[in-house]
Amino acid sequence: MQERILEILSEYCEEALTYNGDSMMEDGIIDSFTVINVVSDLEDEFDIEIDAKYVIAENFRNKEAIIALVQKLLEE
């Protein structure tokens, strides 16, 4: 699962894979367009629905946070 998430992420923003900070959106690594496209692909790939309530900087602070979000939604 992790590999697939990272593949989706790298499709839109390779920099996100090497980013080591904890505020990817504020640091301008990913913008709202990237977030929307990544969310759409994750939803299709894992058959989950990512509500607007999950689309917050906290859940997109780095690649680990995105993986954790998908894991959480899969377990729900």
């Binding site: 709202s32 367009f33 929307i36 759409s40 990512i50 509500d51 607007a52 309530k53 689309v55 917050i56």
Partner: protein, 527 residues
């Protein structure tokens, strides 16, 4: 009540003293009392609208809390995932109805106060009756700011991204907090609640840092913004045909700086006041004129407003049922560009609302659409830009620097053209000014005596040079990650205090004051 006034300084001093004298768990009551006094005096009457928003916000929050608790109980009784989904959808629908009612009421108030005046001719044409009473409607202080702040709380509560507050007075303090009630920044409830409830002991460093930031804000407002404003107002106030294009270009560049100095000056003052209470407001500016693209510019300018529109308009639309359906329908169309259709619609929506939030004229609407289009076009053309860049001779350190400068200059030009639109009194004037850039630029006017005939004398221009250089030096240091206040604190006392006194003296001696030592109103206060 302006920040730079005797009454504000007295209110600040009394609040500061009481804040650190009362038991720490009571500190937020002092802030609430100060906020209501600040707001009441500023408004010059009873704050009915603020209270109405406060009561409805509090009530809506409580309703959300109750239905969330009921939903959790109901989900416990469910036997499978499908049943849980059905229960969740039913409760979400109930919450959404109440949230829509809440928003209709509060946005309705905002729209009424903001647009009542311009609706007069339309209503008179439609009804054939005199609607002059609407011309007397005065927009309540800070309504554009506290309404959006309140909505963020209600949406976050519904999304379970913040804890619902059960104390009405804390909700009221969140909305009315006096450093930010009139012009922001837009606070988020969870961040502010934690700080309001925290126990803050007196700190000399905290007080000093707060005062330093306040004085720096006053420097930007009084020495830079209000001085530049004299020239800008004069140039934009005369008949367009009588001014050369270069003078208009100069006035527009100065307007870009004026608006930034004015608004970021206000934010520095608000943040400085708040810092003396140990409460840190969110950043609202990150040196926007260092941005290399328009998108980056708007990530650095009025950051909390951009974040508000992104979280509550853009994502709400894209993740809504309609947004998802449209996304699926367009995804594989137009050679793969179809997947950008919904983000582009979201962007246009955000910028349309950003435009009408800022002003009630067609110019502001066009200003919003202009930025929306630029953002959308850059999104679609990004791969093209990247491939072009590969072919440009921008390799190496110098090449990168030149490329960075070109991109920054391109951003300045885009902002420059947009600012002509919003600074002009009408679309006709804006059109005449754009034309003057092409038909009668007359660069020589900038070096002739004409330049000093718009309110700013030779000495004002000479003063602006070092003042703007100080501002640029501070911004460049911050851009490199330095905190100027911390750097100063580490310098010998003589240098440190020379800097402090230097800035204070500049504010006192070279600041632009009115007849009774009042300052010009802050520009964003009218938005």
């Amino acid at each position: 009540m302006q920040f730079i006034s005797y009454s504000f300084v007295i209110l600040w001093m009394i609040t500061f003293a009481l804040y650190y004298l009362v038991p720490k768990r009571m500190q937020w009551y002092v802030l609430l009392a100060a906020s209501l006094i600040f707001y009441g005096v500023g408004l010059g009457g009873f704050p009915l609208n603020l209270l109405l928003t406060g009561v409805t916000t509090y009530g809506c929050g409580i309703y959300i809390k109750k239905t969330l608790e009921q939903e959790k109980e109901a989900r416990k009784q469910c036997v499978d995932r499908e049943q849980k989904k059905t229960v969740k959808a039913a409760f979400q629908k109930r919450r959404k109805r109440v949230q829509i009612l809440y928003m209709a009421f509060n946005l309705g108030l905002l729209v009424f106060y903001k647009y009542a005046v311009i609706a007069v001719p339309v209503i008179e044409t439609l009804t054939g009756r005199h609607a002059g009473f609407l011309e007397k409607v005065i927009m309540p202080l800070g309504i554009s700011f506290y309404t959006l702040t309140a909505i963020s709380y209600v949406v976050d509560a519904g999304r379970e991204n913040c804890e619902v507050e059960t104390d009405f007075l804390k909700v009221l303090l969140f909305l009315a907090y006096f450093p930010s009630v009139t012009q922001g920044p837009f606070n988020r409830f969870s961040r502010m609640k934690e700080q309001f409830e925290g126990e803050h002991g007196f700190s000399y460093d905290g007080m000093l840092r707060g005062i330093q930031r306040f004085v720096w804000g006053a420097f930007k407002k009084l020495v830079i913004a209000d001085r530049l404003g004299i020239f800008v107002d004069r140039v934009y106030g005369v008949e367009a045909a009588s001014v050369s294009g270069s003078i208009y270009a100069c006035a527009t560049v100065l307007y870009m700086l004026q608006l930034y100095a004015d608004f970021s000056g206000y934010i520095d003052m608000a943040s400085g006041v708040s810092e003396t209470f140990g409460i840190i407001l969110p950043d609202n500016f990150r040196r926007p004129y260092f941005a290399k693209s328009v998108a980056e510019f708007w990530r650095r300018w009025h950051i909390t407003l951009g974040a508000w529109f992104k979280d509550y308009v853009m994502f709400s639309f894209v993740m809504s049922g309609t947004g998802r359906r449209l996304g699926k329908a367009c995804k594989n169309k137009w050679n793969g560009y179809g997947r950008q259709a919904v983000p582009i619609m979201g962007t246009m929506l955000v910028w349309f609302f950003t435009g009408i939030w800022h002003g009630r004229t067609v110019s502001y609407m066009l200003w919003g659409i202009y930025y929306g289009l630029i953002m959308s076009v850059s999104l679609v053309l990004e791969p093209f830009y990247e491939s072009r860049k590969e072919r440009l001779p921008v390799k190496g350190k110098h090449g990168e620097r030149i490329w960075t400068f070109i991109r920054m200059a391109r951003t300045w030009l885009i902002v420059f053209l947009a600012d002509v639109l919003i600074r002009s009194g009408s679309l006709a004037q804006a059109g005449a000014i754009y034309t003057s850039f092409v038909t009668r630029l007359h660069i020589g006017s900038l070096l002739s005596s004409e330049i000093t005939s718009y309110g700013l004398g030779r000495y004002d221009f000479l003063l602006l040079i070092p003042v703007l250089l100080i501002w640029l030096a501070v911004s460049a240091a911050e851009e490199r990650g330095l905190d100027v206040r911390t750097v100063l604190a580490g310098r010998p006392a003589v240098i440190r205090w020379a800097c402090y006194y230097g800035i204070v003296l500049m504010v006192l001696i070279t600041g632009i004051y009115g007849g009774s030592y009042d300052t010009a109103a802050f520009m964003y206060q009218s938005f």
